[in-house]
Symmetry: C2
Subunit: 288 residues, 2 copies
Amino acid sequence: MRRIGFVGLGTMGAPMARNLLSAGFAVTVHNRTRVKEEPLAALGAARAATPADAARDAEAVVVIVSDTPDVEQVLFGPGGVVSGAGPGTVVIDMSTISPGATRSFGSRLAEAGLELVDAPVSGGSEGAEAATLTVMVGGDPTVIGRVRPVFEAVGSKVTHVGPLGAGQAAKAVNQVIVGGMYLAVAEGVALAEGSGLDVERVLEAIGSGACRSWVLENRSRNMVERRHPLGFRLALHRKDLGIALDEARRANVNLPLSDLVAHLEDRLVASGLGDQDVSALMEALRKG
Amino acid sequence: MRRIGFVGLGTMGAPMARNLLSAGFAVTVHNRTRVKEEPLAALGAARAATPADAARDAEAVVVIVSDTPDVEQVLFGPGGVVSGAGPGTVVIDMSTISPGATRSFGSRLAEAGLELVDAPVSGGSEGAEAATLTVMVGGDPTVIGRVRPVFEAVGSKVTHVGPLGAGQAAKAVNQVIVGGMYLAVAEGVALAEGSGLDVERVLEAIGSGACRSWVLENRSRNMVERRHPLGFRLALHRKDLGIALDEARRANVNLPLSDLVAHLEDRLVASGLGDQDVSALMEALRKG
């Protein structure tokens, strides 16, 4: 496993492609906005005019784009991966999309002689830069074994969670929990401020008890300072939560907290905060 | 500081009184249901028929009872602390009650020549047993300095967070964050189950990323197994959340997640689950 096609050079994809180059893979990159290929080319990547071209001589093709329709376009649209990839090529979808669509894409790729593995990530742009992403992998164990070096070049925690689609289902669980935790910490910060407390002192006092969490340790400062640099884009979390809520509906599970987070995020996106970090949930608690 | 009166031998109070005895304090205990004094007497505590008697020769009196009216009764009711305590005695209220009531009790005690410090705790029954409680202290720094050995005998993290009432305000912040985190993890577990995932495997996969938290590490197993041993009683968390929501209203802060948790906990208490751990929030997500 040496020759990798790589489609999607956004906030997550660009540093992941860099880490693949650093790990010694021969990477051919493609991005819809093609100027984003240039910094990767400067580091030694080949450039491809279409996803098909990126896939042509690759053993595996990584796709990391925004949403389900984007993945469909990259795989099956004009100049898509299926029109370039040779038989047996492994498609690794690291986007966050619907588990159901993933299974359907898997069947369509199988008809073309291609394998699909779903492998969404978490850890945000910091994790993508530092190659410390959590990778949640779904698919056939033998196929996953072949592409594992790809995951290990971009992440520090790689778990095979189940059959095709299970990676996406696990990511949905992750986004549900993370969203709730951001809102929980935001409410704590808002109450501490409203009560006239020294917020940082209080968070330090309680942060090693039952409140102990990544969100409190890494995002409460954003909330206190009312600055929400990325991190992870609130509008993308909202998109991911939509996938999770669809899954929940299908499974007949109530997720009232995730419904609430989605509602607050909709309001924040509407007021122009969609490109800020999820910690901007704090701003939804200000009284008008 | 050697002679301590101790009022309230519940799930939290009994092990805390034991830890004071172990640390070498001379402890005189009182509990409304007096039979609960017996195990402490067997360990060397003196018994008192009333809070006044428990306070009589004490340098400090610890009170840890259920709610604001209980504290008022213990301090100012018939046979209350004020009728027994000598001038300069420090009353240490480790109950979780309203910050406003705390300030008012402080003024009334001052008129009787007594000092008040508020010092609610978190860490649940495990923390009380192991003397690893988090103690959030409000009050005069000099007075707090005098009673600090008491806190150090029952807790491992003692923080002076501000003036009288600030300990209670910090505890309210803690309960807001903790409640939201329990519900966040419960929704993740419910979605994972509904999606047919191997729940423990998925939680292991995501638990070191942005989901990392005390609640996930220590309470998700309860949720998976649908068993909710204490821990911390759901009905008491609901009571604490009521205090936090009152504070929020006073401070003109919106806490929609805490409103949701309170609503779900009301339903669970009504269906008889109030004496289970807060992890029973999971049961509110089952579809009827």
